[in-house]
Subunit: 205 residues, 2 copies
Amino acid sequence: MQIVSCNMSVSVDGFISGPEHLDAGFDRVQDWAHRVFAWRDRYGIEGGAQDPDSDLFETLYASIGAYVMGRGMFDTGEEPWGDEPPFHAPVFVVTHRPCEVLKREGGTSFTFITDGGVEQAVARARAAAGDKDVHVSGGAKIVSQAVAGGLVDELHLHVAPVLLGRGMRLFEGLIDTVELEIAGVAESPHATHIRYRAMPTTKAG
Amino acid sequence: MQIVSCNMSVSVDGFISGPEHLDAGFDRVQDWAHRVFAWRDRYGIEGGAQDPDSDLFETLYASIGAYVMGRGMFDTGEEPWGDEPPFHAPVFVVTHRPCEVLKREGGTSFTFITDGGVEQAVARARAAAGDKDVHVSGGAKIVSQAVAGGLVDELHLHVAPVLLGRGMRLFEGLIDTVELEIAGVAESPHATHIRYRAMPTTKAG
């Protein structure tokens, strides 16, 4: 069955980065990913550990048929991703600025959704993904909106063993509209991987 | 070897309670604890599950020789704890208001530390605990100070599968002065238990 999932790396104190995007705090939170083969291979970087943390990416990448992201993530990534972005699948970008569909090498396309927000982007991605899953990639705001909107079936948190003290929070201002259930935990020295099933809340309050 | 530990229950989004102390959000975050036998037994409440979550409390309680807490936690707890508080050990309360030592039934005493803050309270608790461990119980501010001050050897987080959206954060304003290492993870349907070893940071920045 097709699911919609998010994967987010966070510090123990709930930050996805320090005060700036892609800063030293971000690097510390993402270190568990940046050190493994599967992640590096996808971004064309040599080396990397072939271990259970890497396997986690292999499994994830193999399952995804389409992506959703916010405009901020697209704008930050477009240049470094280059002519052959690492998605190899349709990507739906939530934005207010209309833009033609961008086709890239290796099967990646970027379609800009200006109407209907993240809900519409997820619907389009679901249709484009076929039998495969949909991944809401980021940033934190789009992920929070998708989770709060009941659009996400599984939330995968990768809790890195770092305290940042300050920075950008994953769930800033999220409203309490979903219930979570622990679907599985994987231990590693580099991060604690917790999978949650998310369901629209049935409780009052 | 004697260690100083903290045990804190937090929501997935990093809150220890909703906006008010001991509110519905607090109950949701603490539910994994309030449902088990070992916790209930200690507070004189009947029933409760006898399962690995309960065993976790048994092991913790058996290891502790002295406690440290903030004045807020003492003030909130003093009345409900009654004549025989659940500690059965010396408790050192960090405060600015001097107060005589309070002796209670069952081996609990409350000593008020007005000089030297949490550092002095931990030192006193270490001496009082003998061969046993010291537990920094709360509230969040004292725990954060103790962690940031390098006074805590092990931080045990119990991540409850709930999103609160708003409330009191565990690590509000914590400064980045410690490094963490994952010491162990225990999975349960009710909370993900992560033990971190904490060490003063050696890195710049």
